[in-house]
Symmetry: D2
Subunit: 333 residues, 4 copies
């Protein structure tokens, strides 16, 4: 029997998840909720489902699971409400920008033996998954060093930056999760450098736009992350993993793979310029994993705990930049 | 208002088109027909449409267009019946294996001012389309030479081969259409070589499995096609176009683009191993083009005439191999 | 003891070979001859050897081998003279533009049990050699189809074209030799198409600038060659070999392998733009092979016979274009 | 008139420079010295020069310049001696492992207005130079972030490790120089992580084999360096530079660029496995630059000062690992 879903929040990411749900043969979209009535209405019409209030969804007998796509500051509250209501919860990252709030929320989830999956979509990218599969197969031997390049095509509005929790919690958090996904051992030390090179207004807002992070585990495995809010050539998303027997890497993706050769050289088109087109398959696979887990096939991972640790790594990076030193994770968690 | 469709034939390719129709916001799948009741039933259930007979669809007021996915020897008859019934027709290639029958069929289409689009799906591949777009933009100047590589992962059953019309009419026909699509000028001369290298049974059946073709237009533009029924590394589909100012090419596609580096070298995974996964986007874009044309946006191309010429080029190649000489298209059409 | 060399002809290609000889630890450059005294003088000074006349070299006791780099119409005569004088001969391709003259020349070489190696330099390119090595190792199984792309950055002066014997004998001859080198079986059938697209003056001179050739062996192995006198993006030299177990290919070479990424896309520099920089390593390896063969290590291949067959294939291509048909090699040789 | 050279030290790197000198039309190799007579003798015979003592070279009127290829602990002394003797000096990196000793040595060079060039060969790699050229042309705009990957095919003997000054002074020093070469602004902050993952004996010797470094300039430009003593797939040497307008990168180099495609995927051969074959062209270009500078064309760079700063960066990295914090360069220099 299909899993019956409600999507909370009909904005940009809500639309992505609504599409993923309706495209999954094992899932059915029953309802959508949004404070903005027209947004909810449009989505409901497109996919032939009902518009309901949060409260109605909470009480509904015909909803098994919710996808939380509302603003960040409502995530933790909604997770708690729907776990208490007995619904499985898929929540967009982050759970919250405060580590204490995340911990409290996870306490509630645990107390109610709830199901909570956090939306680190990149784990579901087929290319990155294939990298992880090679690690699991032992192709590269023992993992030693991970290199993650993650550069956005352009900076978001400063208004967004202000509410984002800063680049480490907003953008690097994906790379922290990816590093954990690939290292296969918990990170114990974090050090970072940061600068404002793209837009002075970002600096004025107290944030950075160009950062570098080094990570280390207890046994000495290491990772480096390079982030920028600027990449004129598209959405730059690469990983490479070096191990005792070899390396495995995932290259960038472009919408069209042609090459033009002229006297000026050989030119391929720019990369995808938007995370939604870059990660289309990942969003679908993410929901499919959640649905499958509810049918007892596989785990609903990444979990709330994964969300907690990624946020803690971001906090450590913030502290590292502020204090100009290596921060131990035992200071944070 | 959405275009209302019936799909005739619920086999492998019928399923592909049914999916494309239901995935198109401007189209609606109303009915499916198949001589095999269970096949039709399964497709109808999956997409929530009705099972009907050919006759019922012919007479239906709620069907605007049909997609013909039945066996090749029924194509021409069905095209004539549905054009006469006032339906727009999308027909899988080829219209027929006999040039005379195709001509007669197109006569009927013209007489009834019918709409007929033929399923040369590769014209809709985003990468090949991008190649054509560069030509149209003038990036490579005047087109001079086109090179088309098209190699199947493996040979079809000999039983299929026997009904196929031979490799030139079954497989190369796609490349003939692609050559025309890219050359921008009608082909006037054809010469080919052919051999049986993959499977002697194919030779026993009177066909070849490894062929090469040279094409030439009146002004001297040229094209070469390389075909094999064998490619251990996947579905090899490449084109390159050389012009007076430069060249443009489309590389192969693979499902996952990672690279593993070890002492044995740098290895990327094999290509797609099936035309349906390789051309997923092309099938969707093809139906979208047909739907759009019915709404007055763009043309329903490739047309029946395009189907006719591609078949004539195949006939010329057959004749060239048999007679060991360059065949002029004026001998064929 | 080092092999003592004289270079006949101090032009462009003579300089290349003089450099290769002096760079080979097993060889020594003793003398250079050229009808143009200053050219010979310059080369002699650069490498510290003597200027001598052809006659003096013929009679010299301190010369073991000659490298013939004089104009094509002198090759056959010089080969005969120096073979008779007991010198080992390395001759730039072609031996002559007339098949009859080549045959007569090889008769003389055989009668004197002379050593004659012909300068098909591409066999010595490390990348192409590596392709052949994979074939020899059995990596791709039984060779089935060979694709050779060979495009010059620009057309030579029409004056050169007139003396060249035509594109098939001047340019494609390299590809004919490469096809034989890779197919591993003699070619029995040739068919070609040809056009003038680059420069009308080439057509006026009775030649073509854009040609395509299909080759076939008795067992059905096939090859295709694509040639043009125009490639705005540099010297385009690629081969791919398809076999029963897989394929092996050699990509283009560029002097500098960087990539620039901007909003306009990802751009790599053009290819080498000159055969001498593209094939620098090949020229050195070619002379090293000749020197080694004289010391009893390996064979002095490609031989005069290889030169003969490549020319015969060119003659067949010329005939094929003239008569619009497949030409059997038994008609030519 | 050609620059007359003596090479001090006839070991591995001495041979490389002797070859570069003799291959340069503007240079002449006059003498070679080595404590091991047979090594000096062999080199002298190969290139037709004399064996002399250090003292004889110091006093020689026919020597304009020396190339110092002796053990590291003799570099500073020899630089001082030959600068005092009025010879131009090219010295292999590093000048010394002690910052104080380097400073004292440079004092002597300055006092005698000597010419000292330090052998950071990678600045002369044609690919890396092309990266720098793009920066200089403004292609990527203002440089923001530099990523340097530098992984050795295998660890040197522990005996070598012990005398090496540690990975930062022995291996990363090249990358520090490259970062400076590309950033275009002095580095002010250094932080590093380090581990022993390849060989425990390296740890026992007090060194690391896997390190990561972050660098920052006063204006916020950043660089990251990834080093390992292990790379099963060959000598991994890549750089990428991200700027305000785009990025430029240099890919790895392999001796042979073929690709084999089978059911197992597409495989290219491993990279160069040795710094001498990887950087053949760089060594020649380095000496050519030194020779040209002596003829008044261009500068003898990298200078002694460049050698000093690279060493200081290595010292900072050592300190950063030891103290778990960001080290300011003002603490070191």
């Amino acid at each position: 029997m299909a899993v019956r879903f409600a999507v909370l929040g009909a904005g940009r990411i809500g639309k992505v998840h609504a599409k993923a749900v309706t495209g999954d043969a094992q899932a059915r979209l029953v309802a959508v909720a949004d404070a903005m009535a027209p947004a909810a209405q449009a989505l409901a019409e497109q996919y032939g489902c009902e518009v309901r209030t949060i409260e109605a969804i909470e009480a509904a007998a015909d909803v098994d699971a919710v996808v939380i796509c509302t603003p960040t500051d409502t995530h933790a509250d909604l997770i708690e409400r729907f776990v208490k209501a007995g619904k499985a919860v898929f929540c967009e990252k982050p759970i919250d920008l405060s580590l204490a709030r995340v911990k409290a929320c996870l306490e509630v989830v645990r107390a109610h033996k709830g199901t909570l999956m956090v939306g680190f979509n990149r784990r579901f990218d087929p290319h990155f998954r294939a990298v992880r599969a090679e690690i699991d197969k032992g192709t590269v031997g023992e993992v030693e060093m991970v290199v993650i390049t993650s550069r956005d095509p352009g900076a978001p509005p400063v208004d967004y930056i202000k509410r984002s929790g800063g680049i480490f919690r907003d953008m690097t958090i994906h790379d922290f999760d990816m590093a954990r996904f690939l290292l296969g051992e918990e990170i114990t030390e974090v050090v970072a450098t940061a600068a404002v090179l793209v837009d002075p207004a970002i600096g004025t807002a107290g944030d950075f736009d160009s950062v570098q992070v080094l990570l280390k585990t207890a046994s000495g495995k290491q990772a480096m992350i390079s982030n920028s809010r600027r990449a004129t050539y598209g959405y730059d998303q690469r990983i490479e993993v070096h191990g005792s027997k070899g390396a495995v890497s995932a290259e960038n993706q472009r919408p069209v793979s042609i090459e033009v050769a002229t006297g000026a050289g050989y030119t391929r088109p720019p990369l995808h310029d938007f995370f939604m087109t870059r990660y289309t398959e990942a969003y679908a696979a993410e929901i499919a994993t959640f649905v499958a887990a509810m049918a007892g096939k596989g785990k609903a991972e990444p979990t709330g705990e994964d969300g907690l640790i990624a946020l803690a790594l971001a906090d450590a990076a913030v502290k590292s930049v502020a204090e100009g030193r290596v921060v131990k994770m035992s200071e944070i968690l």
